[in-house]
């Protein structure tokens, strides 16, 4: 819905100013440095969310494990 407008071209079309940026891939809409920075920020954000498995989930799975063991026949 809000995505109507096409991504803006990050580079100038003026050939005289384009000579210094030939390293950039043609199919990439963003420069490599920009992509790398976003990737790095995304990963450090995500890493900041990683915590050891909370006890409630350990308990949950162990409890279910026991209750199903009780019901089933001995292996």
């Amino acid at each position: 819905m809000t995505e109507r407008k096409p991504p803006e071209k990050p580079q100038s079309m003026d050939p005289s100013t384009r000579n210094t940026t030939t390293k950039r891939g043609k199919d990439a809409s963003l420069g490599r440095e920009v992509q790398a920075k976003i990737g790095q920020q995304l990963r450090s954000y995500y890493d900041g969310l990683i915590e050891p498995t909370p006890d409630r989930f350990v308990d949950l799975l162990q409890k279910l494990d026991k209750s199903s063991e009780g019901k089933g026949s001995a292996e």
Partner: protein, 183 residues
């Protein structure tokens, strides 16, 4: 039906990343924990349909993603946590220096459409391939690629990340100007 201890351990090992994915999607730690809990319960109820040897993480991510999407259809995203107290609910807090960057990124990410955010996080952070992300989201690989690209473009605008070349001269110029104006 009893849960194979090996499967249980694989499921538990997947939880930290699954939880981070949940937080990224809904923007709220408590809701993400509820999503993870519901995901584990669904997974256990359907454990027979899991094929040993296949990717348990991808399976769990698929369940959580679908739960989030169906829940989202019912109620709008309610808690936006505008006061920035969000990171405080995490036990492991980001270091002070990276705190600002963390907050900025969190806010920017929350502004992306759901489909772009999930694609970007799956590929860029959770460690899935484009193919796996496509399976998790139930769409074509090309669709994932274009969503990831759009997400990056959008984020670069929101975070004012420009080409690195632009920073150097600009900063220098600003410093020089600031120096000249000092009495």
């Amino acid at each position: 039906m009893s849960l194979d201890p090996t499967l249980r351990d694989i499921m538990l090992a997947a939880v930290p990343s699954l939880r981070a994915f949940g937080i990224s999607l809904c923007g709220n730690v408590d809701r993400a924990d509820d999503l993870v809990q519901e995901t584990l319960l669904r997974a256990l109820a359907n454990i027979d349909s899991f094929q040993p040897g296949t990717n348990m993480s991808a399976w769990l991510f698929t369940i959580l993603r679908n739960l989030f999407r169906s829940e989202y259809r019912k109620r709008r995203r309610e808690v936006e946590d505008a006061d920035g107290s969000y990171a405080e609910t995490l036990k492991t807090q980001p270091e002070q220096t990276s705190r600002v960057e963390f907050e900025e990124f969190r806010v920017a990410l929350s502004k992306l459409p759901d489909d772009q955010r999930e694609a970007l996080v799956l590929v860029g952070a959770s460690g899935f391939s484009y193919e796996e992300a496509a399976e998790i989201c139930g769409c074509a690989v090309g669709t994932i690629k274009s969503r990831v690209n759009r997400a990056r473009t959008r984020l670069s605008g929101l975070l004012s990340i420009d080409n690195a070349d632009d920073f150097g001269p600009d900063l220098t110029t600003r410093t020089v100007l600031a120096g000249n104006e000092r009495p």
